[in-house]
């Protein structure tokens, strides 16, 4: 009698259940793919959920245009390997259409602008469900998310009026024009994701592993020296041994000094680290509730 699953297998089973539920309850789902490890995990879990059939939905990359080249290369390799369809929704196009105005100043970022691009893509392709790799342990507003998160016709999240989510029964019913965000790895922690990557031997973007890179310090966040981020006169870039704990838009993704070059070393580092993963995210530092505000507007 040893009918027990360890916690990682339990989380995997739960995520696959959620992904299959999304496929069954919605007409036209998509996976929001950022090139980060969480959306990579969701993509691999989707592969498992439907094997030997292909993943029955496309990957959507909301492209700020401010990417690490490694992310794009990785994305294209993965898409080819899994045989999935890729849709790129470009923030630059949204700017060119004058749907949004680019932020100005040293901390200008396209993070908020992504929301409009995403909502436009949802409308254009008629997605009624977007699967994402958000985890509840990442950020305090995300700790309140449901697996099936309802968005009104403006794509907005209403945190005070969420549907109760009981047992494993997910209510994906909606009116025309509304849609859902579905988060299969809600219950995973950063460490769980890394353990899973190690267990499954999943290939990851090289940015996650220790490498030499020109970086500079801004308000305690180490940013990559890049043409997308204008440096202030008093800022100087130096070459350091770093890795990224999260991968997003280049303007808001902070690096950490690290010599962890393998998944096992990263697991060790994550297990002993004293700073949260999003501690290096400039986009969360704007105010105490910047994530909550962005989510209400329709962000991931």
């Amino acid at each position: 009698m040893s009918f027990t699953l360890n916690h990682l297998k339990t989380l995997e089973s739960e995520a696959i259940y959620v992904i299959r539920e999304a496929a069954a309850q919605f007409q036209n789902p998509a996976i929001l793919f950022s090139g980060g490890k969480d959306s990579i995990a969701v993509t691999y879990l989707a592969r498992k959920a439907f094997y030997p059939a292909p993943i029955p939905f496309p990957l959507v990359h909301v492209d700020t245009g401010h990417n690490f080249q490694e992310t794009l290369d990785y994305r294209d390799r993965l898409v080819a390997k899994l045989g999935v369809k890729l849709i790129v929704a470009s923030v630059q196009d949204t700017i060119d259409q004058a749907r949004v105005t680019e932020e100005k100043g040293y901390n200008a970022s396209r993070i908020r602008l992504q929301t409009t691009t995403l909502l436009d893509a949802i409308e254009k392709y008629k997605f009624d469900c977007c699967l994402g790799g958000a985890r509840r342990d990442e950020e305090k507003a995300r700790a309140k998310e449901r697996f099936f998160s309802h968005r009104d016709e403006f794509g907005q999240w209403d945190p005070k009026n969420q549907r109760p989510e009981l047992w494993n029964l997910f209510n994906g019913r909606k009116h025309v024009g509304e849609n859902f965000r579905v988060f299969p790895i809600s219950n995973w922690t950063e460490l769980d994701v890394w353990q899973y990557m190690g267990m499954e031997k999943i290939d990851l973007p090289t940015l996650y592993f220790s490498h030499r890179r020109e970086v500079f310090d801004r308000d305690g966040v180490l940013l990559a020296a890049s043409p997308y981020i204008p440096m202030k006169p008093n800022e100087t870039a130096t070459e350091q041994t770093v890795r990224f704990r999260t991968i997003g838009d280049i303007t808001s993704t902070g690096a950490t000094l690290s010599s962890a070059a393998t998944v096992d070393e990263i697991i060790q580092e994550v297990a002993s680290t004293r700073i949260t993963e999003r501690g290096g995210r400039a986009d969360d530092k704007r105010s105490e509730s910047s994530m909550e505000d962005r989510k209400k507007e329709g962000y991931f």
């Binding site: 009698m1 299959r20 209510n171 909606k174 060790q268 680290t273």
Partner: protein, 427 residues
């Protein structure tokens, strides 16, 4: 988290314990969770610095650990918890998922939400107030939702001079009430979440207490026996048909076992059609499994070509669930509008969608006394009542006390699409 080398292998084999916390407003629930996270070293420096700065700005004279769990702006402003927040921490023994649920009466639906998937519930009692209506309500919900273990924490012991008499009186009161609950495993612990007494480390202030600390209880409570491994129930979630040359005739039934064990070669019945066949194989990501048990997500292949779709159930020939359109149940109501007698609602039960009509409202429970109110019972938000429904198609179900998955369903308002009822099927 320590400086020592992290033992990756033992982390891989940890068990997962889900627990929920309940208490009234100001019982110190968020503080307790903050304390568990802080003392188990699961709080990061930047999180701590963040709440330290906020506490200081507000002129609070200690670091307010409750701020760790209050994620939404309105919650921080009002100092209350509005919505279920999920927290994660692990010790070398177990990994924990906390569903931190609000204590306000108007948000009881969130308590039900948190309790529906929990192995254990922490019931918090303010030592100065003793057992109050909220305590009874939360305990009843925990019991009704099939939580097998309760940790009753009598908090704020520092404010009653760590008095054994106060503690004993509250325990006695609670036991009197709890004798009418279905939970068999109830542990009492006197704590101070603010100061950390008996949360992670034993309290020097209460040498008279001979029990274990809360964290020790969470790490050791036996939960492996909580799952039902007897009645095999496999609700079909999705049919996998690759439609390519390599897997031309492949037809896999994807789903997650609600309970029980299935193996290749097992004789099974497909419900509701009643056809019988044999399991040809159980697969996961292309690998063949020798057995699958709850809560594994797998794909089942059958010997015979039978028309099977989402909502059908694969079970053993000699162990079948009930099949009926007339269901007796307890409902926790969550809708703004009261439950309508003769009203029609959409329902979701396992992977099946159906509709139902409310045929009878037998009684409403008086939460404080557990008395049944049978005279014109109106079931409004946060009420719990016993009702009978008739469904459009037969449900394949077990009693909730035997099976938390096949014994539960939700009712949905067909106009607003909002989940309005949590339904617990009776024997």
């Amino acid at each position: 988290m320590t400086e020592e080398v992290f033992d990756s292998k033992s982390y891989m084999n940890m068990e997962l314990l889900r627990f929920t916390t309940a208490g009234s407003v100001d019982d110190g629930k968020s503080t307790l969770i903050g304390r568990l996270l802080y003392d188990s070293k699961s709080i990061f420096e930047d999180q701590y610095e963040n709440i330290r700065a906020t506490s200081e700005r507000r002129g609070e004279n200690y670091v307010n650990l409750a701020l760790l769990t209050d994620g939404l702006r309105a919650e921080r402003e009002q100092g209350i918890t509005i919505d279920v927040a999920y927290r994660y921490f692990s010790t070398p023994k177990r990994k924990f998922i906390i569903a931190d649920t609000p204590g306000h009466i108007q948000y009881t639906r969130n308590m039900v939400t948190g309790a529906s998937t929990a192995n254990l519930a922490i019931i918090l009692i303010d030592a100065r107030n003793g057992v109050v209506e909220q305590t009874r309500r939360h305990s009843l919900i925990a019991s009704l939702l099939g939580i097998k273990h309760l940790a009753v924490c009598i908090n704020k012991m520092d404010l009653v001079d760590y008095s054994k008499e106060v503690y004993d009186a509250i325990v006695k009161d609670y036991k009197e009430f709890a004798s009418r609950l279905q939970v068999k495993d109830i542990q009492f612990i006197p704590i101070s979440a603010l100061n950390g007494d008996n949360v992670v480390t034993r309290s020097a202030n209460m040498p008279w207490f001979e029990g274990v600390t809360l964290l020790y209880l969470l790490e050791t409570v036996y939960i492996a026996g909580d799952l039902n491994h007897i009645d095999a129930r496999f609700p079909v979630q999705y049919v996998i048909r690759p439609y390519n040359d390599e897997f031309h005739d492949y037809r896999g039934y994807a789903g997650r076992l609600s309970s029980g064990v299935l193996r290749p070669g097992d004789k099974v019945s497909i419900l509701p059609s009643g056809f019988t066949t044999t399991i040809r194989g159980i697969e996961f990501n292309g690998a063949q499994l020798i057995e699958a048990y709850a809560p594994m997500s797998v794909t089942i292949l059958l010997e015979d070509d039978i028309d099977i779709s989402r909502g059908d159930m694969i079970v053993r020939e000699n162990n079948q669930p009930h099949i009926s359109q007339d269901i007796e149940l307890m409902v926790c109501w969550m809708g703004d509008k009261p439950l309508q007698l003769n009203g029609k609602y959409a329902i979701k039960h396992t992977t099946k969608d159906a509709r139902c009509v409310v045929k009878e409202v037998k009684y409403k429970l008086d939460i404080s006394t557990l008395h049944r109110i049978t005279e014109d019972p109106v079931i409004s938000m946060n009420d719990i009542g016993r009702i009978t429904v008739r469904t459009t198609t037969p449900l394949l179900y077990d009693a909730y006390t035997k099976n938390r998955e096949t014994g539960a369903f939700i009712m949905i308002d067909e106009g607003t699409n909002v989940t309005v009822g949590a339904c617990i099927i009776l024997d």
